[in-house]
Amino acid sequence: MISLLVDAVLVGAILCLASLGLSLAYAIFRFPNFAHAEFLTVGAYGAFVGFTAAAPVLNEPIQILVGAAVAILAAALIAALSGRIVFQPLAARGGGPALIIAAFATGLLIRNLIVFLFGPTELYVQRELEIAENIGYGVRLTPTEIGILIATAVVIYALHLVMSRTTFGRCLRATAENPDLAAVTAIPVDRIRLGAWLLAGFYCGLSGLALTMLAPIRPETGYEYLLPALAAVILGGLGSIYGTLVGAMLIGLAEAAAVHYGFAEWRQVISFALIILILMIRPNGLMGRAAS
């Protein structure tokens, strides 16, 4: 049972990192940013480039740090550029379906750019073979998995601190709720929105690093996480950062339970059945509030 919970937390942690940026973008711009999938992919390829470039001269922990730095920079840059050039101008003109179509188009553009630069085949970082160790109660985890769990806990707590204790976090929450009122409260709304894109990119970079450390990456790597990430955001309550955390963990639990009890091929079906069930009871998600 403990082993199942740890598996659930691990799946949920990766999903959580992948979903947080999506949730932030929804909170600020009120649209599902389908290009988020490609921000994840850019993070993953950024991690690959950083890790591989550092490989000849640095040891593995430092390579991971270099990979993280490049992943975060690349994902934050692409998120901020997409936000500033495509999404913010469209949102200023009323948004609506144009934003959703633009998000698909931006995602396709980025994915094709990745294929052009890196090719369509799988890439993987050259690492020493890791052996899962028993950490007690029959739970076996590799050092990478332990690292992902710790890093996820740290960055989620850091996000909580940023949102609740800092002026930037309060400005972000204010802008998400009511941009006009935020503006007349002297909040530079455009700068805060740019900050939101950078923060979303930061989480995509970390998520991309985790994906690169765990498995080979492809131009579709991020896209494969889009649906579960959207599900986590919807399940938690659209735009609710804390709800996204709960949603990701619940989907992680459902998927881990499916695998644990021998229904691995049904894991996504079980996850989405759970989502439908919860949304029937709470249409605004677990921590979402009805629009007033």
Partner: protein
């Protein structure tokens, strides 16, 4: 003559270019003055104050509050230049606590402004509701938070868009009572449907119709002239 705190000169504003809602409106607000703006629904009252605050597009004219022309500038710059604005609806951050609403204004202000203690003197009830979610407050309590949020920015001018809308008679009295006190510190541009109550605290009044100023007079003149009240403010003389 005292120098005006706010001067609006031939302001043209609206939401669609070529279809202005506010048509060449001029007004000025002197220190410690309350200027009331009345008019029927659709007259352009809210659009006028939104345009001054920077949340509705400006197509022409000038707005001066202290230094340079603020017309068409981003709303956050206008707020920092000294124009405090309290919208009619959605005027507090409902997901934040009362204290967070107030702290946010303190964090964003440009220079000096009142302290929280001074705000609590004006609205004593606020101190006890600091941890409550602003969205859970009554209409009157929200209005107090909204006015306090605007005041904490340290404005040179306060603009209120229908502060009595949707409030109980007791809360309307409380709000107008607080405006009487506030005028000593900051001049107020007041858009209001509750004409009689507003005229009792205002110095001057403007009547807006079809986006233009139709009448400008002292509040006492309007209050004392039943014919004017009937002709221009007929249905609004509550």
């Amino acid at each position: 003559m005292r120098e005006a705190s706010l001067t609006v000169d031939r302001l043209i504003a609206g939401y669609v270019k070529g279809q202005p809602i506010v048509r060449e409106v001029s007004l000025s607000l002197a220190p410690a003055e309350i200027l009331a703006v009345f008019g029927p629904n659709g007259a352009g009252k809210s659009t006028l104050v939104k345009a001054i605050a920077g949340v509705a597009p400006v197509f022409g004219g000038a707005i001066h509050c202290g230094g340079s022309d603020l017309a068409g500038k981003p709303a956050h710059r206008i707020a920092r230049a000294g124009i405090g604005y309290v919208p009619q609806v959605k005027n507090v951050f409902t997901e934040m606590s009362v204290r967070e609403n107030l702290d946010l204004a303190i964090a964003m202000r440009n220079g000096r402004g009142p302290t929280l203690a001074e705000i609590y003197e004006l609205f004593p009830d606020l101190q006890e509701m600091g941890r409550r979610r602003a969205g859970a407050l009554s209409g009157g309590q929200r209005q107090m938070v909204a006015i306090s949020r605007a005041l904490l920015l340290g404005p040179s001018v306060l603009i209120l868009d229908e502060p009595s809308a949707g409030l109980s008679p007791r809360n309307v009295d409380l709000v107008f009572q607080s405006l009487r006190q506030l005028r000593l510190h900051v001049p107020i541009l007041l858009v209001e449907q509750n004409v009689k109550a507003a005229l009792k605290i205002a110095d001057r009044a403007l009547l807006l119709a079809d986006g233009s100023v139709r009448l400008s007079a002292s509040a006492s003149e309007l209050l004392d002239d039943p014919a004017v009240m009937e002709t221009f403010l007929g249905g609004g003389t509550k």
